[in-house]
């Protein structure tokens, strides 16, 4: 009789718990599955940014050399890192911190947290039975174990959402500043600086065109001019794509914070693949030209 009452009580508690779990579960999407691709995209963006900026620094150093050649004297003021290493280190640190934050989220939302608690609850259930001596109805102990695990999972998800929402304004600020630094179009930020350097290369070729009067010499000059145009555009596409990657990362995090189902994640993968394509294109142009990229190709 007592056992029967205990069984009914336990069953009622479990029914209420099941409804609670379903209700809470319906209220939000599980960010657990979206955190690993986000982290992967952050790591990729870090690598892509580092290599793109190293390229920009090499290219602009080449332009400083060209400028130095026009000067009456040579001194070290003529040379500087266009994108200073200490600032590039700050970018890298920001990416690392975002990844480390993602890693913790992944740990919190991982299966291990839930199964750890379920394991302990299962041991506790056995102990209770040993002490009591009176057997619980079949299945109740296992059901309580699972329920305990679910509660832990729900708490972990709630805590994770809270942290993601707290981090979101700062994450948006960081990615937005990075996008702004790269430049929203070819005329601003790093893209603007690079575009002007390319305009300078084109201007040098235009003057060479005026210096050469023969048709054959001019033909070669025109060929170099067109190659320079292609390389300029390819380089800008790389930087533009990098900017778009950062915009998608910001969007993906916003979706995590506000439970919106993710379109940004898939888009991010597409953009990062597109970036690789643009890098390949730029590499192919440079190989075709067979010149050292440090002078921007064409002097």
């Amino acid at each position: 009789m007592i056992k029967d009452r205990r069984f009914r009580h336990a069953a009622a508690v479990l029914s209420v718990a099941a409804v609670f779990v379903v209700l809470v579960g319906c209220g939000s999407t599980n960010p657990g599955s979206e955190v690993p691709p986000f982290r992967q995209a952050v790591v990729t963006a870090d690598q892509q940014t580092s290599s793109a900026f190293a390229d920009v620094n090499r290219f602009l150093r080449g332009q400083q050399i060209e400028h130095a050649l026009t000067q009456p004297t040579l001194n070290e003021d003529l040379f500087f890192e266009a994108l200073p290493s200490e600032d590039l280190a700050k970018w890298s640190r920001a990416f690392s911190l975002i990844d480390s934050y993602g890693e913790k989220l992944e740990l919190l939302l991982g299966e291990g947290q839930r199964s750890g608690v379920e394991g302990e609850l299962s041991v506790l259930g056995q102990k209770i039975q040993e002490v009591d001596g009176d057997q619980l109805p079949a299945g109740i102990s296992a059901a309580f174990t699972r329920f305990g695990g679910l509660l832990v999972q729900l708490k972990a998800e709630r805590d994770a959402h809270k942290a993601i929402r707290k981090a979101d304004p700062a994450i948006q600020q960081v990615f937005s500043a990075m996008m702004e630094a790269i430049g929203e179009d070819a005329g601003s930020g790093v893209r603007g600086t690079v575009r002007v350097a390319w305009a300078q290369i084109l201007a040098r070729i235009s003057v060479e065109y005026l210096r050469d009067s023969s048709q054959s010499a001019r033909r070669l000059v025109v060929g170099r001019y067109v190659e320079a145009l292609d390389e300029r555009d390819a380089e800008d596409r790389v930087l533009g794509s990098l900017r778009l990657s950062l915009a998608s990362l910001a969007k993906a995090h916003e979706e995590l914070a506000y439970d919106r189902s993710g379109s940004a994640g898939a888009l991010l993968q597409l953009i990062q693949d597109e970036y690789k394509g643009y890098r390949e294109e730029l590499k192919a142009i440079r190989e075709r030209r067979g010149a050292d990229s440090t002078n921007g190709g064409t002097q």
Binding site: D87, G116, E120, D159, P169, M178, A197, A203
Partner: protein, 109 residues
């Protein structure tokens, strides 16, 4: 961001573009070389202003880092809180083991 450095960078870029347009229309070599020299100096200054602008924008990135570290610490706390739940359940289990042994002893009395 609409800083003075950004305005300067924009202005220098715009001046360089104007000179490039003028160069594209002259067929006089002397004039072209003079424009090219001006452009060379402007290009150098665009790089300098660009460097400062990059530093300025990167400082904004650094400002956001503090909040990300704080959110990260919250996640760490949440992980520890789950670990505490596990420890608590384990401790109760251990306590029950002791109770069990005590009950056995009492039964032998």
């Amino acid at each position: 961001m609409n800083s003075e450095i950004k305005k300067l960078h924009d202005q220098l870029i715009s001046m360089h573009q104007s000179l490039a347009r003028r160069l594209g229309t002259t067929s006089d070599l002397d004039e072209a070389e003079a424009i090219l020299r001006e452009m060379e100096e402007l290009n150098f200054r665009v790089m300098m202003a660009g460097r400062l602008l990059f530093k300025e924008t990167t400082a904004t990135i650094d400002d956001g880092i503090g909040s990300i570290i704080a959110a990260s610490a919250d996640v760490e706390k949440a992980i520890k809180s789950v670990a505490r739940v596990k420890d608590l359940i384990k401790t109760v289990g251990q306590f029950l083991g002791v109770v069990d042994k005590t009950l056995d002893l009492i039964k032998q009395l």
